[in-house]
């Protein structure tokens, strides 16, 4: 199994380093025409009329589509149906699309798009979530009374009473901002009508099945009328779902009318304007402690800005609720997390999904409280952290997996030298030009979607009679290396070399819907399905070939690219050829249903997730006294992910996740004025660059997880959810100034 033992395996490596990998905009079809969106300059207005005649008069313009041309539902969504394919009665944010100009070339379409005339009656925009909440006279959307999109709570014990018995009460308010996903590939969708009436879709889709749901609803056609392909996607991080699905539906609508391929390619500015962001939070935290440092009561009240569309806010706010107190045991919890509609750009799924925000608050609350209690912050964490068989704040007993919070924290403290480094903290006192600080944060994170939704996945192993193997799963590759992880897992199941396995060009037609590639669930769910399929397939092969082996089926072993029993063995090719002679397909469909989870929304109790990832980040940094500039010196990050399938790719997830968290903490600020984004491109919206990034020491901690057959728990989101908190603590330790909002902006000392 030499080739599968390579340190780094990716089935798309060569294609990607040579530029041969085909992304959406790299496809061209014969007879292809182009389309571009039309926006208005308003963020909240009543639409009185839309006049497309001047635009349609331009030579080369095929048609201008508006809501009048939509055969299906005008609005759709993953939860609430309020994302419009075309704005109909109202403009609700700056990215609302009112029309689509279809023309022979993109240039003509762009020219004509300026000639679409819209008559609007401006409405007062709602841009502040605190003011928006409860306002019934000025609604972003009739669906949401008082502009409230979601409300989750936990009522555990009696927090109000518990606070009266506490020795220390700490109250703070924290704020986070919009964050752009900033996938380097902007949106592109391509609809190709096939002769059989099926519309093929290519595009920057995070999850083809989700896109298909949107497209089918908008076009009022059944799922089978579309085939959405999986192909290289230039990053997603949660961001290529709702918006690109609406774009795909516009392309599909145009293609269904003109019966030719239609491409819609987005400029970066349109991508910033129309696509959803990370939800900004306002978080009021109140902690009550005994003088010994026991966290007795927590009260939190949070607003999460959803913008003009629901998208996934009811789910991400639920995760914020279930994880509102971090990896700590608390007997008395009173939590409210509310999603609020505004006329700002809408928000939705982004890597971390409601936890980078709360962790920013929680892990600072722990440091603040430790200082006020006069207890070492590590000790305070140790006193309160979740442990084996304990109960979480939602009443879930953690007895189904190894609770390794302390193990992970201790490992990272040791590796990072944290205990010695804290002694060097400047706390605003330094003889040099710089302050020094180190900071820590820990977290636990429920794997997969938890009680948000139904969780199951499919896999097809299709061995060919020559010994080659075709693999397909319903988990979509977004660049994270999902296909490669699946191939590695399959190679191990049968002890065959990776060179035998090809991952199919997956589509919505090749495999059943396996849920979205979200929630750090892909590898765990996909490999669990592979395990289930492999069990079936081994049985089929053993039952078929046991007569050839003259042994009991169970005695046949799969090892070293062979089938063997006693002294008899067949090479893998010979075995597959024998399957042909027996007229039996070496084929298996595997499906895996995640363990049951539960949630009672009335009181906020339940087994929220079937397992948890435990994480710790430590950062060292310096702050320049004169400029206030934060320089990250190094980061140590550790995660108990159950088991690693492709170690270097796991590390890549950790490095990249941290980079995104650093952006949220230090460099990225989406400037919005009156609902309009002022910095909609990378020259003004500052992603972390190489010089902003420190060296990262990524540590993988493996306590094989018993919750799923995969043995693993995932890494995508844990990697990004706690570095902003660690940085904030380190900035305090450097400067003596607490950070209550992100991104952190420090003034230089005059």
């Amino acid at each position: 199994m030499v080739d599968s033992e390579k340190k780094v395996f990716r089935n798309d490596n060569i294609a990607k380093v040579t530029g041969r990998a085909k992304y959406a905009d790299d496809y061209t079809f014969h007879g292809m025409i182009h389309a571009v969106p039309v926006y208005t300059d308003s963020v909240h207005a009543e639409i009185l009329s839309i006049d497309v005649t001047k635009a349609e008069d331009i030579d080369g313009v095929r048609k201008v589509l508006t809501w009048k041309d939509v055969p299906g539902q005008m609005a759709f969504g993953q939860i609430n149906k309020d994302l419009y394919i075309f704005a109909k009665d109202k403009i609700r944010y700056h990215g609302d699309v009112i029309a689509l100009v279809i023309a022979d070339t993109r240039e003509i379409a762009l020219e004509a798009s300026k000639l679409v005339h819209v008559e609007l009656k401006e409405l007062e925009p709602i841009l502040d979530q605190e003011k928006a909440l409860g306002d019934n006279t000025n609604l972003v959307n009739d669906m949401h009374e008082g502009n409230k999109i979601a409300h989750h709570h936990i009522r555990r014990g009696d927090a109000e009473n518990a606070f009266t018995q506490c020795d220390l009460i700490v109250e703070r308010e924290f704020k986070t901002s919009f964050v752009e996903h900033a996938y380097i590939e902007p949106e592109c969708a391509f609809a190709n009508p096939r002769a059989d009436g099926v519309i093929e879709l290519y595009g920057t889709f995070q999850h083809p099945f989700s896109t298909r749901r949107f497209v089918s609803a908008f076009l009022n056609r059944q799922f089978a009328d579309f085939e959405v392909f999986s192909h290289p996607v230039g990053g997603s991080f949660g961001g290529k779902d709702d918006t690109i699905s609406a774009i795909a539906a516009r392309a599909a609508l145009a293609a269904s009318i003109f019966k030719v391929p239609v491409k819609i390619l987005y400029d970066r500015e349109w991508s910033f304007r129309e696509s959803y962001k990370r939800n900004p939070y306002i978080m009021k935290y109140k902690y009550g402690f005994s003088k010994e440092g026991k966290l007795k009561a927590v009260n939190t009240y949070m607003l999460s800005e959803s913008g003009a569309v629901t998208s996934t806010t009811p789910w991400s706010t639920w995760r914020s609720t279930a994880q509102c107190a971090g990896p700590y045991q608390v007997e008395n919890v009173h939590t409210d997390v509310i999603g609020v509609a505004t006329n700002n750009v809408f928000t939705g799924a982004m890597r971390g999904f409601g936890t980078p925000q709360v962790n920013f608050a929680i892990e600072q609350m722990m440091d603040i409280s430790a200082e006020e209690l006069g207890i070492d912050p590590i000790e305070l964490r140790r006193i309160n952290m979740v442990r084996q068989d304990c109960e979480t704040i939602t009443g879930q007993k953690l007895d189904g997996h190894i609770v390794s919070m302390e193990e992970v924290m201790d490992k990272i403290i040791t590796e990072s030298g944290y205990s010695d480094n804290v002694k060097k903290n400047s706390r605003g006192q330094s003889d040099s030009d710089e302050y020094y600080g180190t900071g820590i944060a820990i977290s636990y994170r429920g794997s997969s979607v938890g009680a948000e939704g139904l969780d199951f996945a499919a896999c097809i192993i299709n061995c060919q009679f020559d010994g080659s193997i075709i693999l397909d799963t319903g988990i979509h590759e977004n660049g994270q290396g999902s296909q490669s992880a699946m191939m590695l897992a399959l190679a191990k199941e049968f002890d065959v070399p990776l060179s035998r396995i090809k991952y199919t060009r997956s589509s919505t037609t090749s495999i059943p819907d396996s849920g979205t590639t979200v929630a750090t669930r892909g590898t765990m769910m996909g490999i669990s399905a592979i395990r289930k399929a492999s069990i079936k397939l081994r049985k089929t092969i053993r039952d078929t070939l046991c007569d050839d082996f003259r042994c009991d089926p169970e005695d046949i072993r799969f090892e070293n690219d062979k089938l063997a029993a006693g002294s008899y063995s067949l090479t893998w090719e010979e075995a597959m050829h024998k399957m042909f002679l027996h007229r039996t397909y070496p084929f298996a469909f595997g499906e895996y249903k995640a363990p049951r989870v539960s949630w009672n929304d009335d009181i906020g109790v339940g087994d929220a997730y079937f397992t948890y990832v435990y994480s710790c980040n430590v950062v060292e940094l310096s702050v320049n006294k004169k400029t206030g500039k934060v320089k990250l010196l190094n980061i140590t990050a550790g995660h108990d992910i159950g088991r690693a399938i492709n170690e270097e790719m796991v590390k890549g997830q950790i490095y990249g996740g941290i980079a995104q968290g650093i952006g949220m903490a230090l460099t990225e600020e989406l400037k919005i004025e009156k609902g309009k984004i002022l910095n909609p491109n990378f020259n003004k919206y500052k992603l972390p660059k190489t010089m902003d990034m420190p060296e990262i020491n990524a540590l993988i901690i493996e306590n094989e997880d018993r919750s799923t057959p995969s043995g693993l728990k995932g890494i995508g989101e844990p990697a990004t959810e706690l570095i902003a908190a660690a940085i904030s603590n380190a900035v305090y330790n450097a400067t003596g100034k607490r950070q209550y909002s992100l991104p952190i902006k420090l003034e230089g000392e005059k």
């Binding site: 490596n13 040579t18 530029g19 380097i184 660059k689």
Partner: protein, 154 residues
Amino acid sequence: MNTITVNGREHNIDDSLLEKKLLKYLREDLELTGTKNGCNVGACGSCTVLIDNVAKKSCVVSLSKVIGKSVTTIEGVEGSDGTLHPLQQAFIDAGAVQCGFCTPGMVMKGLDLLSKNPEPDRDEIRKAFNGNLCRCTGYQQIIDAVQIYVERQK
């Protein structure tokens, strides 16, 4: 006659194309789609190519500025028999590839750096890549890749 050389092949440029950006020309006219468009304002580096062996962001370079010059795109990096350039192999071995959209630009930028400084240290590599954005990797394995290449060349 206006000509430019792309990956060793000469192309005549019609006067009407002189204001066209090199990136658009490469992708649309020559169908060399390995060079990517991430921002179109010269901020992300996905469109990096070599012009007379110097890395340039092709989305902001007009064809008129390239007349008489030689352009190398990612398609011109591997050997004519498909053998990977050692830097490409180093990207693979370092785990420097995730979504891959920035990768061609990163490889081109790396070639530019190595032609000027054959043995850069990690700080020099960081400095060189500061104009190329990657959202997946945190850059660490990209820097590793250049180091692996340098070590292998010794």
